[in-house]
Amino acid sequence: MTDRSPEISDRRPLYERYEHLIGQALAILIALIGGTVLVLLIGENPLLVFATLVDGALGSPERIASSLLQSTPIILSGVAACIAFRGGLFNIGVEGQLYMGGFAAAWIGFAFQMPPVIHVIAGLLAAVAAGGLWIAIPAFFRARYGTNEVVSTILSNYVAILLTSYLTIVVFKRPGGWSETPGIAETAYLPQLMTYSRLNLGIVIAIVAAILLHLFLTRTPAGYGMNAMGRNRSFAEYGGVPIRRNTFFILLASGAVGGLAGGVETLGVHHRFMEGFAPGFGFDGVIAALLANGNPIGTIGTALFFGALRSGSLLIEVDTNASREIITVFQAIIILCVSAQILIRNRRDSTQGERRWKI
């Protein structure tokens, strides 16, 4: 992985410090151009589509709240991915952890009676535990035997989705309902922030998680060691950072936050577990983290952007004839452009044989 380690903040000249931002802005521009071409191809008016997109994302307080609501699970999944990413690992199984965490939180919510605040905390803790446990086996084999975590976490996604479906539909189905568990007790609801939207405390949890991770990485000794692992594994090993142990715990923490993302989603929005409750959020989070180059604060930004895209795309479906899948196409183009950093790649390094990420 060559682009895995983010440039650390330092006192570089202003331009250098923000050149990645400039690059990303240009990348988005290129993506917009690509998107325009595409919209034209499918016979729609690009201006109308973009205007609808912006209107749908930011057109009213409700819609802004809705964009934030969409961003919440992406931020948390992104933080989960950042944790692994900054430690030089790859957790592509955030999706699966999200499902497990979502189910665990819902289970605490509907199967137990507890006093208000405690119930919420218990639910979130269950989500954290479920996410952590779900990645524990891949993490163990990665740490102990070097088993490729990308593959093992991808495969666990499938198992997690099937398992939660099984639990939801076969074991805990709400009688007479669709494929969903009974609703959770009101004591387990994450408080809503405003009356006109489902936006809830989850967004605060997500942003706090991102900030905490940032502080952990930049201010604490353990965070320093973890960061070093991600930048140059042999250097960290040489410096006495316990690689194997860290590998295990970094993946565990990453999975735990992935679980939290699911828990926040069930306790805050759906108030039950339903299958297919959040498809794609885990993957979006991974990509948001990659785009922000592993920086948790930056991930908040990219996740908000993705959330706004998703939210705006809803109105596209209503007000235009374009399919909202067009948004996924934009997203993919943006990701491609940013990842290539076409515009800012430093050509001076081009003589150095670069080692690619090997299996």
Partner: protein, 508 residues
């Protein structure tokens, strides 16, 4: 006399490093032309330019009097130039014949004609007296055999001019001598050889002409006739070098680092260390020397806890260090200057301050209540930059942009400022200029004087002779002999390095 190759005003820079500055010289057809210079002088870069691997920033290359733009190695090959690289470029999973014919495979019916290739390799190896088994996998070859494959690779491409970049660094003196015989055979057939070496005696023995490079520029090109080794040294370094030994104090400290019966194997299961034991006392420097690939790397890694020995153990300050745990070794008081500084010694993507903190992030000096005090780290870094004369823009300079020597100083600054009782110093002056080298030597002596136990691993005989109180010679993973620093001379050590006297002097 015709010139097989002529270089005119070749310059090449890497970022701020000027690896070659307006280099000009000619190589006569049928001669052996030696290229000498310190580490980092720019020899390899120049040869890479000549071979089309790098494009020069300016300058011209003439082959047999004709100007040629070396766009790619293919151009060079078609000009009859072949290069045996400092680091071999063989593919381990392929056979000898496949490696030799890589890029010019013999094809029959669309498939590679293995049999024809092997037959031709056998024929070539016979003709030039380079014994290899064409069907063997390169992974199973010895280093010497790998080099013969590299040379055959060049010959198979019909090279008339062969560049050898430090061919003897990995060879025993006997193997080196065989190589020279072969090279002389080549010139007898009208071929031209360019030959890079740090061993001035070899240069004197085999070459016809010598070009000396210093700091990327040519100092002079001279005929071997009438040249002495001292002349060469003066040209290379720019002044008389004081090879004199540092003053030694008798060792009275008790053992601070003990390595007992350590064995190791490489990935293929071939033993790399066989039953190595040694002892370093406080206030003592023990030098370990050997030709590359004789086990020093493995020894250093095992002592540092970076590699698990297959047998044996390491004690640091009287306590057994858990194997394969570099953190534990550090906690016991070992610091380590690694040989591979780019990969291991620094994190090139972060700042000097951040690099200085590594290994001490939990030290109360820099951390309070679980928070890293970056201001203090930065202040400490600034002080170390001053003390070690690290040429940089300050603590926030990104390490990857430092020159190699300054990078090494960052490593030394970090490791030597710990005041640790045990120092493992691996190739501390590789690629470091002569001025810095002396400073590093001074620092190492200072550490010894304050009572540190130092295990110094080096491939340079003069370095261990200058510094070490005792010298252990590693050969084929075994300690081939021990020499006292006071009485050591290069001949004796050289003989041991070549495995010459295993029987006479087994380490006590």
């Amino acid at each position: 006399m015709t010139l097989a190759i002529e270089l005119r005003n070749i310059s090449k820079r890497f970022g701020s490093v000027r690896a070659n500055r307006r280099i000009s010289f000619g190589v006569k057809t049928g001669s052996i032309h030696a290229l000498v210079g310190e580490n980092g002088a720019g020899k390899t870069t120049l040869m890479n330019v000549l071979f089309g691997l790098y494009q020069p920033d300016e300058g011209e290359i003439l082959i047999n009097g004709e100007s040629v733009v070396m766009a790619t190695p293919r151009t060079a090959i078609s000009c009859g130039i072949g290069m045996v690289h400092q680091h071999f470029k063989l593919v381990p999973s392929l056979t000898v014949a496949e490696n030799i014919f890589l890029g010019m495979e013999k094809i029959r019916n669309g498939l590679i004609d293995t049999r024809a290739q092997e037959a031709e390799v056998a024929e070539l190896s016979q003709r030039f007296g380079l014994a290899v088994d064409p069907a063997k996998k390169v992974a199973d070859l010895s280093v010497g055999a790998e080099q013969r494959v590299e040379i055959l690779k060049v010959l198979a491409r019909g090279a008339k001019t062969v560049i050898l970049d430090e061919p003897t660094a990995v060879l025993t003196p006997q193997e080196a001598r065989e190589l020279f015989t072969i090279l002389r055979g080549f010139t007898a057939q009208g071929m031209t050889i360019i030959f890079i070496s740090h061993h001035l005696d070899e240069v004197m023995e085999v070459s016809n002409t010598v070009t000396v490079i210093r700091d990327g520029a040519v100092i002079d090109t001279v005929s071997r006739e009438g040249l002495t080794e001292d002349d060469l040294v003066r040209m290379m370094v720019g002044r008389e070098v004081n090879f004199s030994r540092r003053p030694r104090t008798p060792n009275e400290g008790k053992s601070a680092l003990r390595v007992s019966r350590v064995c190791a194997r490489d990935g293929r299961g071939v033993p790399t260390l066989r039953d190595v034991s040694l002892d370093v006392g406080a206030g003592e420097i023990v030098g370990v020397i050997g030709v590359d690939g004789n086990g020093q790397t493995e020894l250093a890694e095992i002592v540092a806890g970076l590699r698990e020995p297959s047998h044996g153990m390491v004690e640091i300050a009287g306590t057994a260090a858990p194997s394969g745990d570099p953190g534990a070794a550090r906690d016991l008081g070992l610091v380590h200057v690694p040989a591979d500084r780019v990969r291991r010694g620094v994190d090139g993507s972060s700042t000097i301050a951040s690099n200085i903190l590594m290994g001490r992030q939990y030290d109360p000096e820099y951390t309070s209540a679980g928070i890293v005090l970056w201001s203090r780290v930065r202040a400490a870094a600034a002080a170390l930059i001053e003390r070690f004369d690290i040429r940089s823009s300050g603590p926030d300079q990104v390490v990857g942009k430092l020159s190699g020597g300054n990078m090494q100083k960052v490593v030394l600054a970090r490791e030597f400022s710990h005041g640790a009782p045990v120092l493992l110093v691996d190739q501390p002056t590789r690629g470091v200029d002569i001025g810095a080298m002396e400073r590093i030597h001074d620092e190492i002596m200072e550490q010894r004087d304050r009572g540190a136990a130092i295990l110094l691993i080096s491939a340079q005989i003069d370095e261990v002779i200058t510094l070490a109180d005792r010298i252990l010679v590693l050969f084929a993973g075994r300690i081939a002999g021990e020499v006292s620093g006071d009485t050591a001379n290069e001949d004796e050590i050289g003989r041991l390095m070549a495995g010459g006297s295993l029987i006479a002097e087994v380490a006590a």
